[in-house]
């Protein structure tokens, strides 16, 4: 039973990583940049939702929708102002700018909301914990919902990318930017759309994460951001199912190594697993093998 409880915790944590990793992976796929500010958009999503529920008195679910809209706009704005001027100058310049954006978001949050941490009001207030197997197995509603939300997002996103015109355009741009442009695809629009979707999902991840682990601080997004980035690479960066599988595996490894090996070294174990996976499959679990041409 213990094993099952840990497994569910792992899946739930992994689902949060997976949703964040989606943002990383999509952005990387289309613009070949590591968007290190992504974790901080999660934090902004959490704060917006917090302010709306606690101060404006909005329903948590409505607040989630508003937070998604705010984060979507923020994502588009950041891309337009900070990343677009550097497009085509190599991924390193954009990477450093992304780090600058990350500092900017964290310190803005510090100035706006102060240094005191907040406790996030759970979306699932009042829903009882599910007990099974004579009280030995406990499932928090937030875990269950996070896992379901992850699966739902994955299905919708896969359909979107494969079936819709905009999704196909996104794939085309990530496949070959120049050729897509020649085919009449608006590259700018596709990239903006990717950032919009990634940032909107970050808001969802932020609210779900804070519902399960309720502390909200300006630096809340930093560590999950790095872990989710790891998850994205784990699964093969650029691949949508890869992000999901990578996130879930990472979450399970993290929880299991804490439960059965060592709480002190759990992060080291997670990162060591990553190294081993990359040694066996250098482009991640589901990453595409790109053959080099002379």
């Amino acid at each position: 039973m213990n094993f099952l409880t840990n497994l569910i915790s792992g899946l739930s944590l992994g689902s949060v990583y997976a949703i964040i990793a989606l943002g990383y992976t999509m952005v990387y796929g289309i613009s070949k940049m590591l968007n290190f500010a992504h974790g901080d958009i999660i934090m902004i999503g959490g704060y917006v939702s917090f302010v709306l529920t606690m101060y404006v008195g909005m329903n948590g679910w409505v607040a989630l929708l508003v937070a998604m809209v705010v984060c979507t706009l923020l994502g588009i704005l950041i891309e337009r102002l900070a990343y677009r001027p550097l497009r085509g100058t190599g991924s390193l310049a954009v990477l450093i700018t992304a780090i600058g954006v990350s500092y900017f978001l964290q310190n803005s949050a510090l100035l706006i909301w102060g240094a005191n941490p907040r406790v996030f009001p759970s979306l699932f207030e009042g829903i009882n914990t599910i007990h099974a197997a004579g009280g030995k197995l406990t499932i928090a509603p937030v875990s269950l919902f996070t896992i379901l939300a992850n699966i739902l997002i994955m299905i919708v996103l896969t359909l979107f990318v494969n079936r819709t015109k905009a999704g196909k355009a996104m794939r085309a741009v990530s496949e070959d930017n120049g050729a897509a442009q020649l085919m009449g695809i608006n590259v700018n629009q596709s990239i903006s759309l990717t950032f919009a979707i990634g940032s909107g999902l970050a808001a969802v991840a932020g609210v779900l994460m804070c519902s399960a682990y309720p502390v909200l601080m300006p630096t809340t997004g930093a560590m999950p951001g790095i872990k989710a980035f790891t998850a994205a690479v784990f699964g093969g960066i650029g691949s949508i199912p890869g992000a999901m599988i990578g996130g879930l595996i990472l979450g399970i490894i993290e929880i299991f190594s804490r439960a059965y090996i060592s709480t002190e070294l759990s992060d080291a174990i997670v990162f060591a697993c990553l190294i081993i996976v990359l040694l066996v499959k250098p482009t991640g679990l589901l990453g595409k093998k790109v053959s080099e041409k002379v």
């Binding site: 390193l92 700018t97 992060d267 991640g284």
Partner: protein, 374 residues
Amino acid sequence: MADRLLKSISSRGLKNAVKGSEYRKEALISYGVLVVGYILLQLGAAVGFIGHNLQGQFVPICVYVSLAISLNLVVGISGELSLGHAGFMAVGAFTGVVVTRVLEQSIEFGPARLMIALLVAAFAAAIAGFIIGIPILGLRGDYLAIVTLAFGEIVRNFMNVLFFGLDEKGHLLFAFNHTIDGIENNQRIITGAIGATGVTKLATFTGAAILTAFTLFVVLNLKNSKQGRAIMAIRDNRIAGESIGLDVKKYKLMAFVVSASLAGMAGCMFGQNYSTLAPVKFNFNTSVLILVFVVLGGIGNIWGGMIAAALLTVLPEALRQFADYRMLTYAIVLILVMIGTYNPAFRARITAFVEKIKPKKKDKGKEKTGKEAA
């Protein structure tokens, strides 16, 4: 033979090899930056123009400049993105602390102890670089980056459970995980997450400047050697390099290990500049900070990285007058400078401006700009 072929396939290698003057110029500017900086700071401190705040940063500036130079070897010259440089710095720093403490009784003369510590630190970091480098250097691009990130985090995580101590006889004790039994009566050197405390500070500005000069010497000479040209040829075109029989792994590993050991030395100097040293210092943010120096100074441009490191180390201190808005201002400056130096449109405008004010004395210069534009 390979060397000759190499020159013909690598555009940069060609330029560099044919025009030894390019190299001489780079070396001249790099050493010049270091010497002029050193003299200016020393003079400024002597006449009292420079206050405690800036004086206190002399050693860290040298350390960060060294780190920027050594990371440039991996990022600029070898062309691999590394996000774990702080990990090697940590290995060097903690090795240095242990070595100086162990030798405290036997060697009285501080600089000699520092010297030995630097060598051991370089060795330890080189081993770490070798161990991590062998398996991962087959990886490409961003995958290598994430593995170096993972390495940095693993080092930091291990440092949190690492214990070093000395018993009454001066023997070194070592333990994991709080099982530091019998060490209560003994002298602790490193205590897990608390790190090292009560370090006797051995770092001086002159010592740190000499270390920077040494780092510069190693990197510039490597770059200008046959091996260096091979490394750059592989960076420019891996497959072509392989096809003429260059051992890609060997050369990549060479750059990586040398860079790691230089970072270890810089870390050792850093550790000797403060009375306390905690593992948390060597986190992802520090790795990224060093990368920022390199990118801001121009990837592969050694002296650009040096200046960027010095300026970005001083910048947060210079921004103290902004009080609450200090780090926000720092972030904005960082973004603007990145866009300023890399945005093509912005660069074109500055270049046009420079062309206008630049004295037109050499026809040769014009010719070259024409070539570059093409």
